[in-house]
Symmetry: C2
Subunit: 158 residues, 2 copies
Amino acid sequence: MKGKRTDEDFMRIALQEAEKAYAADEVPIGAVIVKDGVVIARAHNEKEKRNSAVRHAEIVAIEKATKKVGNWWLEGCSLYVTLEPCAMCAGAIVNSRLDRVVYGAPDLRYGFLGSLADLPADYPLNHRPQETRGVLAEECGALLTSFFRGKREQKKKN
Amino acid sequence: MKGKRTDEDFMRIALQEAEKAYAADEVPIGAVIVKDGVVIARAHNEKEKRNSAVRHAEIVAIEKATKKVGNWWLEGCSLYVTLEPCAMCAGAIVNSRLDRVVYGAPDLRYGFLGSLADLPADYPLNHRPQETRGVLAEECGALLTSFFRGKREQKKKN
């Protein structure tokens, strides 16, 4: 591979993960974790597959990354996720001490990194990651819009 | 077993779980999930064992309970936990649609069900569990105090 990869490059990998979720009839959200310019974990939402509301893309990615580095402390790591994290995932990002979070589309209903709240900024927690918002926001959002449109049409047919 | 079990009875089981964490040199927090008066999941903090900041007692209990009932939606279930949940766990409780949360000791530094914030009450999320606070608070808190005192003494010796 030539040259240093950009935020958009890593978000494209997260988008590929979101596409996998879509194909599996899961809400299409994908995440990757990067350390020293290398992807160490990639994951997508698997709530339905695993029957667990805990298995958001971010949580699955964090679990994979911690296994990879052998430490719960994800120092020097950045998380890329296609949708703004919910309260649970924003909390998990703080708990795991991720250096940086980059997200695509905002989640105006449930987002906790800028929409409903900015969890690490609004509260005196013990860690505050850098945040970058809106990377490939349109593509990330379009995938979700398409998924939910399909769901509504399916519902009408039934 | 005779008679209906009380909140204190279930919190005692959560405390047993917290004791297991203590014995394993983990921050002593335990949780149980109850449905129709029956314990369907019991768990303790396993952050160090699993090298994952995601593996708080509540998350482990939720994952066990969802496996047991075969559904991510924990309708009709109550979670008992010895310490007030953090933002991640409060978010997981909302995401899993638990009917009720009962906790022991407050967490004045990181608690998101009454201390720093009351996540389901303060934000327009899509679910709001009933909350009961302070059940066996002293015992739950004393276990944590003892654990951290031991850690400080250990540190002094080294």
